[in-house]
């Protein structure tokens, strides 16, 4: 990216992306709230600092690839893409409607800039491996594949098949980011299907693992910079995030995993986001 933003500027952007997510979900009347809100800082960091990309030329052949494996969190990607200039922000309100390019789960053939169709869980990492292998065959050593995954989807066997392959092939051009928000549809991940020792699992598969606060934009940017400097292994960033981040009544509550806000809830959520959860007191209604 030619533009360079300060951390406070990026934080402001993440906040407006969160507000767009609330508006989109309320308008759509269905969709997932917790994941997209929790991922807003990571997607802001990706689209406005980390990724090499060109919104006016989504198929640019030197771009980095962003794979979104847990496709149900795509509202955050759509919002970030609109803010980055891939399409007009007005189009965000067509989410999940008949004829929209913004499908409930992302489809490559519908919207330029979406690299692959996803939703059914556990397939993103292996697609990222395929992309990274192709880059290696093409001798493109300055491109990276970033792949965002949910923690719940790590229950899928396909993920670990890919983890083995990336370890074997030493795919240092794959940078995984796990949204470690500790929830999935049926409850806390450690109740539904324990993932810990998560760090140890990835390390034993041959990955270099970095733990970060995934709601700290600077930490996300730094971790990705470090990941690009590591040459001998694929890199997994375990990004610890707060599900529903930025909206008090959604934070930490797994019931918001798969639900949208209604009109009243959206009003409260937007007010909270505008006032940074009450920290700014002189807000006009």
């Amino acid at each position: 990216m030619a533009d360079s933003y300060s951390i406070p500027e990026l934080e402001t952007k993440a906040n407006s992306i969160r507000q767009d997510i609330i508006r989109m979900l309320e308008h759509a009347g269905s969709g997932h709230s917790a994941g997209p809100l929790g991922l807003a800082d990571i997607f802001t960091a990706l689209y406005f600092s980390i990724l090499k990309h060109d919104p006016r030329n989504p198929d640019w052949d030197q771009r980095d690839i962003l794979v979104l494996s847990n496709g149900h969190t795509v509202p955050v990607r759509y919002a970030a893409m609109a803010h980055a200039g891939y399409f007009d922000r007005k189009e965000l309100m067509t989410l999940r409607q008949l004829g929209s390019r913004l499908q409930g789960h992302p489809e490559r053939t519908k919207l330029p800039g979406i690299e692959h169709t996803s939703g059914p869980l556990g397939c993103g990492l292996s697609q990222a491996c395929g992309m990274a292998l192709a880059m290696r065959m093409n001798k493109q050593f300055h491109r990276w594949v970033y792949v965002v995954m949910g923690d719940g989807e790590l229950d899928e066997g396909n993920i670990w098949e890919a983890a083995m392959l990336a370890g074997k092939e030493k795919l240092n051009n794959v940078i995984g980011i796990i949204d470690r928000n500790n929830i999935q549809i049926d409850g806390p991940t450690e109740h539904v299907m324990p993932l810990e020792d998560l760090r140890g699992k990835w390390e034993s598969f041959g990955w270099h693992v970095i733990d970060i606060d995934g709601n700290d934009i600077e930490a996300v940017i730094d971790a990705c910079a470090m990941a690009r400097a590591i040459v001998e292994k694929p890199i997994m960033i375990i990004a610890h995030t707060i599900p529903g981040k930025g909206v008090d009544f959604m934070e930490y509550d797994f019931h918001w995993h798969g639900a949208p806000p209604n009109h009243e809830q959206a009003k409260i959520a937007l007010k909270e986001l505008r006032t940074l959860q009450g920290k700014i007191r002189s807000e006009h209604e």
Binding site: I65, E107, R108, T109, E115, H116, T117, S118, G119, P120, G122, C123, S126, Q127, A128, C129, G130, M131, A132, L133, A134, M135, M137, N138, G157, N158, E161, A162, M164, L165, E169
Partner: protein, 325 residues
């Protein structure tokens, strides 16, 4: 038929070869023609005949291990970057085990991954029902965007592989383990989406695919001595189906037999039944596996046991010919 340039398949010592061998040669050739052709295999590189490609282009081959979900999704990722990936295993495992990944990351995602399923059908033999894939045609045929091809011999498999490498669609290529008589020559026409009349006739249409076309041709030869003039259509592409060629024949014969080494439910038999029911109802008998699993045995024994020989095709042809009277 002069324009089909078929081999002299009726002679006693007609040469035969496993269909998968033709795939192996075709993939090697496709790799030479286009550097973006790549391959991946799930621990069956020799069995699926990918070894020729692997030896020639080791840097364009990925060994996935015994992980068929990963096999096709890695294929999807390779295709996303402009590669033409051929991914192979036994048909029982791919597309048997990884159907949803194929649906989402290849068909809906519309990437030109070529899924190669070897060891399809009961002729796999002693390995038994677990390894005798019979549902693959049905599984792949219902997927939008998917092309489904079951070549009739190794020579045709080679042509099909080369054409698939130049085709932008997702595809499933069905291969068999045992040696199959070579009925075509290098001059025999083959295009994706085309069915071919291999023997002209006026009384009954026999539509066959894959390993069964040879048996259909033998049946037609013997039926002629019974006073039935059978037309044999070889239908290697099950999807998209060449409705025009088939309906033109049925318009004339008004009686149909389908033949395949797969479940007739959803298979070629299912496809033809759908077509005829809507466009041209006619007496129909479907030869294939009838809603059951295979079992261990010698390939020839099994083909007889499951009613997949020219003899069974002849009986079915008599039956539909009688029905239209």
């Amino acid at each position: 038929m002069s324009d089909t340039h078929l081999n002299d398949y009726l002679k006693k010592d007609v040469a035969s070869e496993p269909i998968r061998k033709g795939f192996g040669r075709g993939l090697l050739e496709a790799g030479k023609k286009n550097e973006h052709v790549v391959a991946a295999c799930a621990d069956l590189t020799d069995s699926t005949q990918m070894s020729l490609f692997k030896d020639a282009f080791p840097e364009r081959f990925v060994e996935i291990g015994v992980a068929e979900q990963n096999l096709v999704t890695v294929g999807s990722g390779l295709a996303a970057m402009g590669k033409i990936p051929f991914v192979s295993s036994y048909a029982a495992f791919s597309p048997g085990r990884n159907w949803e990944q194929i649906r989402t990351t290849i068909c809906l995602n519309d990437q030109p991954v070529k899924i190669v399923g070897s060891h399809a059908g009961v002729s796999v033999g002693p390995d038994g029902a677990t390894h005798q894939m019979l549902e693959d045609i049905a599984l792949m045929r219902v997927l939008p965007n998917m092309v489904v091809i079951a070549p009739g011999d190794s020579v045709e498999a080679e042509k099909a592989t080369l054409l698939l490498a130049a085709d932008k669609r997702p595809a499933y290529l069905r291969l068999a383990r045992e040696a199959t008589p070579i009925i075509t020559t290098t001059r025999t026409p083959f295009q994706i989406g085309k069915a071919y009349v291999y023997a002209r006739g006026a009384d009954v249409t026999i539509v066959a695919t894959g390993t069964m076309t040879y048996q259909a041709l033998l049946a037609a030869d013997k039926l002629f001595k019974d006073g039935i003039d059978a037309e044999v259509i070889h239908c290697p592409t099950i999807k998209p189906l060449d409705a025009k060629t088939i309906l033109e024949s049925v318009k004339k014969t008004r009686a149909v037999v389908t033949v395949e080494e797969a479940q007739i439910n959803g298979g070629l038999g299912g496809a033809i039944a759908e077509l005829l029911a809507e466009e041209m109802p006619a007496p129909l008998r479907r030869i294939g596996i009838k809603d059951r699993f295979g079992e261990s045995g010698k390939p020839e024994e099994l083909l007889k046991h499951f009613g997949l020989t020219y003899h069974h095709i002849m009986l079915a042809a008599h039956e539909v010919a009688d029905k239209k009277k």
